[in-house]
Symmetry: C2
Subunit: 338 residues, 2 copies
DNA sequence: TTGTAGGCGTTATCAT
DNA sequence: ATGATAACGCCTACAA
């Protein structure tokens, strides 16, 4: 059996392709009931479905939305992807999920690929890099795309001006730190994300700001970095607690880091939150089921994904949407009585 | 700026579109160096990139692979998606990730949508449903697709004959149960997946078989079901341990169930593995970082995703590939001394 | 109410 | 070594 096209349907139904096109696209063009039925029957018989590539070619844009994530197996991106794909298909779009594996080169490559598919828009789920060449490259991609009508929206800070749907990462870092301080903690460690990713940078800044406001001296030894993964959090935390002894709490830049960190803390024989409290940012699904359940600042990943799709499909020169966040109290933070 | 096409390039370079096409496709057609340079320059200047929709239209197939998952925010599917997307882009393909939200209707709908995009192949990540209407519908989709050259490969049992890359779910259920029995457990609970999903059915069968071989009587009260999620596992386990009192171990049909179950067990005041041991199937990333670290049967998700892409791209009427599995011993199972 | 014809951006088949 | 031109499958003025 060959690829059946609109022509085959027209032949079988004994009408012109125009008529077929009108019937299947259900335009409110008055069409004789009899004709319509003939066409429907032929469509059914031939199992005809329109070729979207051809439609797109004609209409010079596709019903595809690109989503660029760093690691699709990470719940953070997974939940975003869920929001994006669901909303997209609700609206008759389909989403390309592009997994960069945290490789900036691939990220830019995907921009090209997506553009070649003439996608309707691109959603950037990962934060940008604070590196001149990366920023320049991204910038030039954006310019090119926006000139041609391709919408782009970011779910994390990119270090350049671009439509966005995100939380305030600085505030996020500040809030969780303040939460700890309010509960009597002063010896607070911080495990951040990659050094050059804006999301990390902002959250760390927030951490420092909270310390500063509370009059707690910032100690560089209390800081360590990871790559936003559980493994990274585990390793960074192991190092951290082997180096400094008086920590009563650790602030993690995301939930995965916290999950890894908790594992490391236990391994060193400490108890959570009795010896060391843990707080983080994200509230991915797993956070409820860790031991102890994780106190964390909720980021509405799923909704962000949905909104990003809306922004693209109902484009109106949006500047940006900042979502509010709040802390979900569970059991990983202890109140210190001094 | 408009969508620049091959025509614009040809004009700017002062050559025919044929020549441009030849240059960019790098066919080993002898082309004068000078001409080639002119074209390259024009391409560069115009930032031209071919329109894939048009290419696909011409060549009557696309470089897209569809992946149908039940829940992309679940690490199980996330890791598969990672394997699929990475391998796909290595090979110059792009993957559509379709999230069904565990809704069978959507699943079939995506088949249509994918087909309309004339994708190269479809990868079914979730298991099929043991329901007549579902099976029939799926069957008819398969027939249609295969007749038209669309490749389909499954990563889980579908209850019908279809090319696959998967593990033996029966053996998986049997292995983990035997592991428990060998360590002295006889009062073993089981938390399975959805009743009608073949993957669940097979794993439960394996569980029963192991019990049978060991001469342990099968007790219906020891069985409970979930939906493969952490939340489901939590609830099913809560119910299970409130109903039966003498359990020393619980066998979970996947890691998410186990994570939820561990949370429920702790909540009821039991300790793992001292009071109750837990084992499961999957070995998703999180399994290493649970408390205690989870003993589980490893399924090579990432590799399965990769292989599925290979199967599609190098189609050779493969019947099926069954991957081997082995248990990763961590700390959630206790040896019972009777 | 229905049909004709041109064009969307490519590639491939002929010519030249 | 290069160029015209005809598809690919669809949509949409414009006619009839």
């Amino acid at each position: 059996m060959k690829n059946v096209s609109i022509v085959d349907v027209a032949k079988l139904a004994g009408v012109s392709i125009t008529t077929v096109s009108r019937v299947i696209n259900n335009v409110n063009y008055s069409i004789a009931l009899k004709t319509r039925e003939k066409v429907m029957k032929a469509v059914d018989q031939l199992q005809y479905t329109p070729n979207i590539a051809a439609q797109g070619l004609k209409k010079s844009f596709s019903n595809i939305i690109g989503l660029i994530v760093r690691d699709i197996s990470d719940s953070y991106f997974g939940e975003i992807a869920e929001g994006v794909t669901n909303r997209a298909s609700q609206l008759g779009y389909l989403a390309f999920v592009c997994n960069t594996g945290r490789n900036p080169e691939d990220e830019l490559m995907y921009h090209d690929l997506l553009w070649q598919h003439r996608v309707k828009g691109i959603i950037l789920a990962g934060g940008g890099l604070d590196q001149v060449d990366y920023k320049q490259k991204l910038m030039s991609q954006l310019v090119r795309h926006e000139q041609c009508g391709l919408k782009i929206v970011s779910l994390a800070p990119q270090g350049i001006e671009i439509p966005y749907v995100m939380i305030n990462d600085f505030e996020a870092g500040k809030k969780v730190t303040e939460y700890l301080i309010e509960r009597g903690h002063t010896k607070i460690g911080f495990i951040g994300g990659p050094q050059k990713v804006f999301t990390s940078i902002e959250r760390l800044k927030g951490f420092k700001a909270a310390l500063d406001i509370a009059g707690i001296e910032y100690n560089k030894d209390y800081i360590n970095r990871s790559d936003f993964s559980q493994k990274g959090g585990y390793e960074a935390c192991k190092l951290l607690i082997s180096q400094v002894e008086d920590l009563t709490a650790i602030c993690c830049a995301n939930d995965n880091i916290a999950i890894g960190a908790m594992s490391a803390i236990r391994e060193q024989g400490f108890s959570i939150p009795k010896d060391i409290s843990v707080i983080s940012i994200g509230d991915i699904k797993e956070a409820k089921y860790t031991n102890p359940p994780l106190t964390t600042l909720k980021i509405p990943h799923y909704e962000m994904g949905q909104m990003a799709v809306d922004v693209i499909t109902q484009w109106k020169e949006t500047v940006g949407i900042t979502l509010s966040t709040s802390i979900f109290e569970r059991e990983s933070v202890r109140v210190l009585n001094k």
